[in-house]
Symmetry: C2
Subunit: 255 residues, 2 copies
């Protein structure tokens, strides 16, 4: 099956409280793009987070002693470090500029996914906004999915992604942080190959594979497109959660 990824054009700057499902459907309509059952919409976390008002003004944050000490060690703003710690369960590694944490949502990422860039700034020094990840990205995806179904009658998957670094390899990769109506992991145990051998590979991170694919089409810079329409996702839609993708600590050899 052919898979087609189409960046959704002309999504405006997202304000807190905006209905994202409405906005995306309007932009798709303007492009002549329609939805059908089995399609997936992939959304950059920043537009979901902004629509949910997850902006924090650093001017309002008072760092603890722990945050201040870690800020010195990592050469970061102590108020930002305070937010990173509040959003995390555990600090795994640090180096200048980077704090690698287990986020309170359970995944491992740098700086708790808190983003300085692409947040409206005014040059006013009393306004230093940063953007936290959505409170619960699976819930966000589920809400958007339901709103789309109510408005269109169509059953789509919704995937929320962020750009994550990895161990061992350079560069960031689009990675699933929330999803609804689609699988996170697909289990192929019991499937056989052409010669009847049971497959060596038993679990495929299909939501992460789609996150990476959509991330390519989104781009990263000013001309980026924070939402992508996917036709031809080759796995059946079902209820799902990004947490399918989390490796249990006792199975993780690299902590």
């Amino acid at each position: 099956m052919v898979m087609t990824l189409t960046p959704i054009e002309r999504i405006p700057l997202i304000q807190p409280g905006l209905n994202l499902a409405d906005q995306i459907l309007r932009c798709m309509a303007a492009m002549g793009l329609s939805l059908q059952d089995g399609d997936v919409l992939v959304l950059a976390q920043k537009i979901v987070s902004k629509s949910e008002g997850r902006l924090v003004n650093l001017v309002d944050i008072v760092p603890t002693e722990q945050a201040t000490a870690l800020a010195v060690e990592t050469e970061k703003d102590p108020r930002l470090v305070e937010l990173i710690l509040r959003e995390s369960r555990e600090v795994l590694r640090t180096r200048p500029g980077t704090i690698i944490v287990e986020h309170r949502l359970g995944f491992v990422c740098a700086n708790a996914g808190i983003d300085h860039s692409n947040v409206a700034g005014s040059g006013d020094e009393t306004q230093e906004w940063v953007l936290l990840l959505p409170e619960n990205p699976d819930h966000s995806a589920n809400r958007i999915r339901k709103e789309i179904r109510e408005r269109t009658g169509v059953n789509v998957g919704v995937l929320i992604i962020d750009s994550h670094g990895r161990a061992w390899r350079l560069g960031v990769l689009g990675t699933a942080i929330g999803l609804a109506g689609m699988p996170g992991l697909v289990d192929l145990r019991g499937c056989h190959d052409l010669f009847g051998y049971e497959l060596r590979i038993t679990q495929v991170a299909v939501a992460d594979e789609l996150a990476a694919a959509a991330s390519l089409v989104m781009g990263q810079a000013a001309e980026g497109h924070p939402a992508v329409h996917v036709r031809g996702f080759p796995y059946p839609l079902r209820e799902g959660s990004f947490s399918e993708l989390l490796r249990p600590h006792q199975m993780d050899l690299f902590r």
Copy 2:
């Protein structure tokens, strides 16, 4: 720009010595698919490896003492462990069933990427074939790219992928192990976002993102498609190497 991934149909079982570029062009022609400058062909390592005769009969392998000891510890075939060690620079972690190594090519993967499945077996106990990764996947990609240019006059990228596990997350992900005529990593340093902030994210693992995308379309089981045609890869083609994606040891916090 829309990105379209099309699985190439009816690729036959690959025999050692087969000209892959020819075979793929023939299958594409049969589908009415043509190539244009900027397209990328993504190939599963198994067809490249088979065409290069990287099959090894385990019956011919005599394990060293070191391999035998590691085989007991990991509950694996000592002859297979012997091959894993020969294909690796360093063993990073082990657990029953899995040996995580730095492959001699420089990336970290399980069992040195040696594959039992999808290799022709006959039921004959004197024939226990396994498949090693290509000797030099960048060279393989480059050769295929040149052959395609000679036959068609078209300038395409070629990407060779395998399925790799990750730290922290479950499931395998299509991952770049060799490439030619396309970037591995794209450096966005100096790019700015909508508000003029310099981007937080500076290097994007575009070859790994495309590997993951193509892997979705390939599938894993009997009905899989080991080659995918990509139209609309959103980055300019250039000379490249998978080694752009390798994190230098001194920059790796998770070894």
